[in-house]
């Protein structure tokens, strides 16, 4: 009986495992491998192996871009999570029916194509756009202040794009949270804020971790957002990869950059997952 159950488990996981291997593992390995091939002058992959692309990673332009990529991703992820916590807390405390309506409203933007929404931001922030004129009329900004084509614009649009992805997992945790615990903490002398920080935040830890992963990883690979609302001074690694692929037509160079980005995400994620696995084994007494 037990053996049969095990067999079913294996059979049932074959499709998803197959999917992962074909569309994730193999492409990742290919990308890493390609980084060590020579470039073909016509934009393809040339013959033989070389470290030329790896050497190209020392390009003096890269450190600034990598640094910008990291801080934009970290800051936008932090803003998304900090903004999503109170939103999720309040949604979770509403009546179930109203919760569903608000969650629907959070998802509604996804009914419009991502590219169109980003272009809408471009129109919105444009030097001749409505928002800019409003700021000038209200004397908040000069007529020659630039809203668009700066890292700030990229940051705002990344936060806009990924905020729902932060709200959903945090809401899922907040919804399961036992709010009696807040009362218990206050009963023991904690102020509302202390109770929130010491009991609620650890209580939704799982949701916060999920939100971090879901927002940070795509933000790190952003390409369309800096491409559309960012200027030359707000490029991210994603923009560089696209440039190497489509403009320079140098696939090995693009692959080397992609591989670095992929490894930067996979290695820490893998390490924390194995640690989690060992921890679980220990507590389960295996």
């Amino acid at each position: 009986m037990k053996k049969k159950g095990r067999l079913y488990e294996v059979l049932l996981s074959i499709p998803s495992m197959g999917w992962l291997v074909i569309f994730f593992v193999i492409p990742t390995v290919l990308v890493i491998a390609m980084a060590f091939r020579a470039a073909d002058p016509y934009g393809g992959i040339g013959e033989g192996w070389t470290l030329e692309s790896i050497r190209d990673l020392g390009n003096p332009n890269y450190p600034a871009i990598i640094w910008r990529t990291i801080w934009l991703s970290v800051v936008s992820t932090a803003i998304c999570i900090v903004a999503a916590i109170p939103v999720s807390y309040h949604i979770a405390r509403l009546r179930k029916k109203i919760q569903d309506i608000i969650l629907l409203l959070v998802i509604v933007p996804f009914w419009i194509n991502f590219l169109i929404r980003i272009f809408a931001w471009k129109v919105f922030l444009h030097p001749e756009g409505l928002f800019k004129h409003l700021l000038v009329i209200l004397h908040i900004a000069d007529s020659d202040t630039l809203l668009l084509y700066r890292p700030g614009a990229v940051l705002v649009v990344i936060v806009y794009s990924y905020l729902p992805f932060a709200i959903m997992p945090i809401y899922a945790s907040a919804e399961k949270f036992n709010y009696n615990l807040i009362e218990a903490a206050m009963d023991l002398g904690a102020s509302r804020i202390t109770a929130f920080l010491k009991i609620f935040i650890p209580g939704i830890r799982q949701g916060l971790l999920t939100a971090f992963v879901i927002v940070f990883i795509p933000a790190l690979g952003s390409y369309i957002v800096p491409d559309i609302v960012g200027g030359p001074g707000s490029e991210m690694i994603g923009s560089k990869i696209a440039q190497r692929t489509f403009v320079d037509r140098n696939l090995p160079h693009a692959s080397a950059l992609s591989a670095i980005l992929a490894l930067a995400v996979i290695v820490p994620a893998g390490l924390s997952m194995t640690r989690q696995l060992f921890k679980n084994r220990k507590t389960m007494g295996i």
């Binding site: 218990a184 009963d187 023991l188 002398g189």
Partner: protein, 407 residues
């Protein structure tokens, strides 16, 4: 000193539902005071008002002379043991207990000493580093109590603290609670729907129903001298009779109970001839005999037949049919098998009881009859407690005509 905690005319409504109606209570320092009543009677709301989680619509809460009605929960010297424990799942047993002290920012060495001594008090020293989800129900309960007591509150609120435990553990925890109370000497305000818990633990009990205090008194007063039909029916079991006063011979009076017999009853309520009264007679006050008992002064007697017998171990419940009445009788039997003829269904028997055992009620409500146990619904339960929430539901429709068939 004697007016330690006072609820002064506390009322509270949720929407259109009035859950507390002008509640006045005085609780003495060092007592275990119980709020006893069926679910939905408002007892938990009163506790939450005391803890500061709810504000009353009107009325005041006074603790040692200070009005604490609008004080935030974290500013009151009041701590709560929650019904579902509410232990912090992200903190170890040790840190759960230390939580209140850590907030006060006192010397860590002193925290260590205090927590250790409380761990010892609840006998969980070996479990200090465990997380709450690794504890059993009884252990969680003890941690919750220690976590509240370590703050040295003026008063400890306990909200159905034993409801989630099984019977044997509940009985053990009752003893533990009593010992802890003796040790720390803090006033306990104890909310429960379980009459046996309240009776065994409390110095004083307030019986609540529909947001109103029906009666306050010691367990003996509540049981022996119930003021209303609700108290009589909710605490233990009883029989109700309704009759006219025929004659008064202080301090006793003769009543004519319709369709039953004339009954002599102790008259402490100054009832006059011609008035209508309601009597409560507890099932264990009756004596059952097969032969007609000797007539003695102040003894009432009536003849009936055995309708139902339920053997419950240390006692037996009988249902005796007298005309349209079905009378509940409880009987301890110390030598059941030896020199007593066993009664069986349909046996003619005599019931006799002393006039002092007829207790006159000040207030009578027909719906309280639904609280009485009737033979078909009887489920043997050695604790003797009855979950009234379920019982009122199931008895609501048939209760009036079937229970205690009243002419």
């Amino acid at each position: 000193m004697s007016d330690f905690l006072v609820f002064d005319g506390v009322s509270k409504s949720f929407g259109s539902v009035k859950v507390l109606d002008n509640v006045c209570l005085t609780i003495k320092k060092g007592d275990i005071f119980s709020l006893l009543g069926p679910s939905g009677c408002g007892k938990t709301t009163l506790l939450r008002i005391c803890a500061g989680f709810e504000e009353p619509d009107s009325g005041r809460v006074i603790l040692e002379g200070h009005d604490i009605t609008r004080l935030a929960p974290n500013r009151r010297s009041v701590n709560t043991v929650f019904q579902n424990y509410a232990l912090f799942p992200n903190l170890s047993v040790y840190e759960n207990i230390a939580f209140g002290l850590r907030l006060k920012k006192i010397d860590p060495r002193q925290i260590r000493r205090e927590v250790d001594s409380f761990l010892e008090l609840i006998q969980l020293t070996d479990h200090a580093d465990k997380m709450p989800d690794k504890l059993s129900g009884g252990q969680k309960q003890r941690v919750a109590i220690a976590r509240a007591l370590i703050n040295k509150p003026e008063i400890l609120l306990l909200d159905e603290p034993l409801a989630a435990l099984d019977l044997k553990l509940r009985q053990r925890m009752l003893v533990d609670l009593d010992n802890i109370h003796d040790e720390v000497g803090i006033t306990f305000l104890y909310v429960t729907h379980d009459q046996s818990e309240a009776m065994s633990l409390s110095d004083e009990i307030a019986v609540m129903n529909n947001g109103v205090i029906e009666q306050t008194g010691t367990p003996t007063q509540i049981y022996e001298a119930p003021r209303t039909s609700f108290v009589a029916a909710f605490i233990g079991d009883t029989n109700f009779f309704e009759g006219d006063v025929v004659s008064v011979k202080e301090p006793y009076s003769m009543l004519n109970v319709d369709g039953f017999t004339s009954v002599e009853a102790y008259n402490d309520k100054m009832i006059k001839t011609g008035e209508r009264v309601y009597l409560s007679i507890r099932p264990e006050k009756f004596t059952i005999t097969i032969n007609r008992p000797e007539t003695t002064e102040r003894t009432n007697m009536v003849q009936g037949t055995v309708e139902e017998i339920i053997y419950m171990g240390y006692h037996t419940k009988y249902w005796i049919r007298v005309n349209e009445y079905l009378i509940s009788v409880k009987r301890m039997h110390d030598r059941y098998m030896l020199d007593e003829k066993m009664l069986t269904w349909g046996d003619p028997v005599w019931l006799s009881w002393h006039a002092d055992y007829c207790y006159m009620l000040e207030q009578y409500n027909l719906r309280d009859e639904a609280l009485l146990t009737i033979p078909d619904e009887e489920i043997p339960d050695e604790s003797g407690s009855n979950d009234t929430a379920d019982e009122t539901d199931s008895n609501d429709t048939q209760g009036a005509d079937e229970a205690e068939a009243r002419p």
